[in-house]
């Protein structure tokens, strides 16, 4: 004990209560990093406020055709960020653009986003895309950086995701990795989600309704237990809300003034 220099004195008491100290440290770091709430009360409660704004998050599609849902969910999360001059970077490779089409600005604006803030970077391969993403995160010119990859890419591994995660934490940028139909592999992301499209609450005339997703948290570095929820995006408030798990239910409660269906109609 007497070998230890004087200035680490505070850790001695912490050493006696490791769990308390760990919790305190966790609290400190969480307080320092601002959280981005989804807007859906149930999800935010489970996440203890929201996802870390300065961090990397991964989104997987539930099935092959759900890679679009994962991309859409990531994009909508980026729009939850407060309005600023900083752009939202969408980085994808030639292969992704060929298989899943291009972003369509009229559709983006109809969901409440501002297409003028979007910057599209299309790279020839994944190596360039990862490098461009890291540059965009570090530049402090972006409020969010979304990188879309398809398939099981060996380049997106623990090392490359850690690089992105560290850069995102340092620059305070929301970094979103859309993995499409890939199989989850170890990564340095703070959260990992599986996103599927979900049936929407129909509009009059049985028309398709607002964007609805089945989201499940697979992994959380902060220790939040995995959970599943169904959320719907409301473009008027630019926020998610909890959707009833049965899509058909809300069609019945159309004339009541409470509940998600009423908010949805408003």
């Amino acid at each position: 004990m007497n070998k230890k220099p004087n200035h680490i004195q505070p850790t001695l008491s912490a050493g006696a209560f490791p769990s308390v100290h760990g919790m305190w440290k966790q609290h400190q770091s969480d307080a320092a990093q601002s959280l981005l709430p989804t807007g859906a009360p149930y999800v935010d409660e489970r996440l203890r406020g929201g996802i870390t704004q300065a961090g990397l998050h991964e989104f997987f599609g539930g099935a092959k055709a759900d890679s679009h849902a994962a991309a859409a969910f990531a994009l909508l999360l980026a729009w939850r960020l407060p309005e600023s001059d900083a752009g939202i970077f969408w980085i994808s490779g030639d292969k992704e653009r060929q298989t899943s089409g291009r972003l369509y600005p009229y559709g983006l604006s109809a969901m409440g986003g501002d297409p003028a803030r979007m910057l599209l970077v299309q790279t020839a391969d994944l190596r360039d895309a990862l490098r461009a993403a890291a540059d965009a995160i570090r530049s402090k010119a972006a409020s969010a950086v979304i990188l879309e990859t398809h398939g099981n890419a060996r380049l997106v591994d623990l090392t490359s995701t850690r690089r992105l995660a560290l850069a995102a934490a340092e620059a305070g940028v929301l970094a979103l990795l859309v993995r499409g139909d890939a199989v989850p592999m170890p990564s340095a992301a703070r959260t990992r989600w599986r996103i599927c499209s979900a049936p929407s609450a129909p509009l009059p005339g049985n028309a398709p309704g607002l964007p609805t997703f089945d989201i499940s948290l697979l992994r959380h570095r902060g220790g939040t237990a995995p959970f599943a929820a169904r959320v719907t995006w409301d473009h008027a408030t630019r926020s998610f809300f909890d959707a009833p798990l049965s899509g058909g239910l809300s069609a019945i409660v159309t004339d009541t003034e409470t509940g998600p269906a009423a908010r949805q109609r408003a």
């Binding site: 900083a86 369509y104 109809a110 299309q122």
Partner: protein, 473 residues
């Protein structure tokens, strides 16, 4: 060298040895063969000649940026104000002669006060313009013959004559040309490239070849170019670097920026990116003996006072990032959305390079309470699908896309989008190619939302086909 002229194979050019044997350009190949049976003959390739001339011109840009081709064999350099680097014009000519001879070119260099005078002196190997024959007037055979018959053989003979009778007899063009040959009128040459606004260069007595040395030189040049730009209150939009190799080859590097800049450090980052992105690395060979940095495009850039309390401008950071990515990946790979006047969905939105001067577009605001009527993703080419509809012209009941059957549970439509017949080359006529599309918003039993359309109405086409055009969130 032979060329087909008026149906006969004729000599287009011959080397000194052939000249010694009495062959001349313009002689028929058969005649030449009769004189020299073992004549080596090659096809004349004027394009390759011109390319070679262009290559020489590139190398000549080490003397002056104002350089003009004078095909088939001439080059005109405007060295006004450039001689001092070599001492005087004669030394510059010597240097040029030495360089060209080293490559095995035979050349004649003449200096003149006007391009026409220098050109005539070089062409007729004359010391003074007065010795140049009247053919230099380029007036055509008739004019030359008439002048010679009148006893006027050289430009010197013509110089003393009054001009008005000459103009009356031979036309105004001859007199103008004469004035130019006599250096009385100075037409500027039209350079191959427009002259840069600013150019700075560094000569080396000993060629340098290490990349670090080259970069250090460019950095120094960028610094002095930045100073010049600052004096003018401008920032460069395009920077070009020319690396002149001692063996005559010229390598070019160009960097574009989205906003005017005179930040040497930023420029160096872009240039490094550019060099990294080169498909074949710079080959210094025996080294570079001249490096020049040019700013061909500059715009107004106000001097900014960076105060203590100013925070980093995100716009500036974004512009710098866009420039870096554009240089590394190519400008067309970093884009922004643009709107276009059209109601055909895929035509209404396009993407343009983010570096190009973007006009702010006001995108439509979402309608509260209405879901998105346009998909967030659109396929470049609509995806063909097989659709089962309840009845012709009816809504889709199910469809097969990418080997997966989607059962439609919710549907809204059709939204009818007519073709833009005014864009059609033959204007409007029933059934001339463009077909009406009926768009449907559908949701399948798994909750996925798609944008489908039927191409063609049943009265337009016998079997309309279905396509999937976009995906809703």
């Amino acid at each position: 060298m032979v060329e087909k002229q008026r149906g006969a194979m004729r000599l287009a050019a011959c080397d000194p040895a052939a000249h010694a044997l009495g062959l001349t350009a313009g002689m028929a190949l058969a005649d030449a063969r009769a004189r020299v049976p073992d004549l080596a003959v090659f096809d004349h390739d004027p394009v390759a000649d011109l390319n070679l001339l262009g290559w020489i011109a590139d190398g000549c840009e080490r003397y002056t940026p104002a350089c003009m081709l004078d095909p088939p064999q001439g080059l005109l350099l405007d060295i006004t104000g450039c001689e001092h680097v070599f001492g005087d014009a004669a030394r510059l000519a010597q240097d040029l002669h030495a360089r060209l001879s080293r490559h095995g070119f035979t050349c004649r260099i003449a200096l003149g006060g006007t391009p026409d005078s220098a050109q005539a002196k070089a062409r007729y190997a004359a010391r003074a313009i007065s010795d140049v024959p009247v053919e230099a007037l380029d007036g055509g055979d008739k004019v030359h013959k008439a002048l010679r018959r009148a006893g006027l053989r050289s430009i010197g003979d013509l110089a003393a004559r009054p001009r008005k009778p000459l103009a009356a007899r031979f036309g105004k063009a001859v007199v103008v040309r004469l004035a130019r040959l006599l250096e009385e009128e100075d037409p500027r040459i039209t350079p191959r490239r427009s002259l840069p606004i600013i150019h700075v260069a560094q000569n080396f007595a000993e060629p340098i070849s290490r990349t670090n040395d080259v970069l250090a030189t460019i950095e120094m040049l960028a610094g002095s170019a930045a100073l010049q730009l600052q004096e003018r209150g401008q920032g460069g939009r395009r920077f070009e670097i020319r690396l002149f190799r001692s063996d005559g080859h010229v390598a070019r590097l160009a960097v574009d920026t989205g906003t005017p800049t005179r930040d040497a450090a930023l420029l160096m980052r872009l240039i490094r990116e550019r060099i990294d992105a080169l498909s074949d690395p710079l080959d210094p060979g025996f080294g570079y003996d001249l490096i020049r940095l040019e700013v061909p495009l500059a715009e107004v850039l106000a001097n900014v006072q960076v105060g203590l309390e100013t925070k980093i401008d995100t716009n500036a950071a974004a512009a710098a990032l866009i420039d870096r990515l554009s240089v590394r990946l190519g400008a067309e790979r970093v884009r922004q959305f643009h709107a276009r006047q059209s109601h055909i969905p895929e035509r209404a939105a396009l993407e343009r390079a983010a570096q190009s001067d973007a006009r702010k577009v006001d995108w439509p605001k979402p309608v509260p309470g209405e879901p998105a009527m346009r998909p967030f993703r659109l396929f470049e080419t609509p995806q063909p699908i097989e659709v089962t509809a309840g009845f012709p012209e009816g809504e889709p009941r199910s469809f097969r896309w990418r080997r997966h059957v989607h059962r439609v549970t919710r549907v809204e439509g059709p939204e009818r989008i007519s073709p833009e017949w005014w864009r059609h080359p033959r204007g409007y006529a029933p059934g001339n190619g463009s077909l009406t599309r009926d768009y449907y918003r559908v949701e399948d039993n798994e909750g996925r939302r798609f944008w489908l359309f039927r191409r063609g109405l049943y009265d337009e086409i016998e079997r309309p086909l279905w396509y999937l055009h976009g995906i809703f969130a």
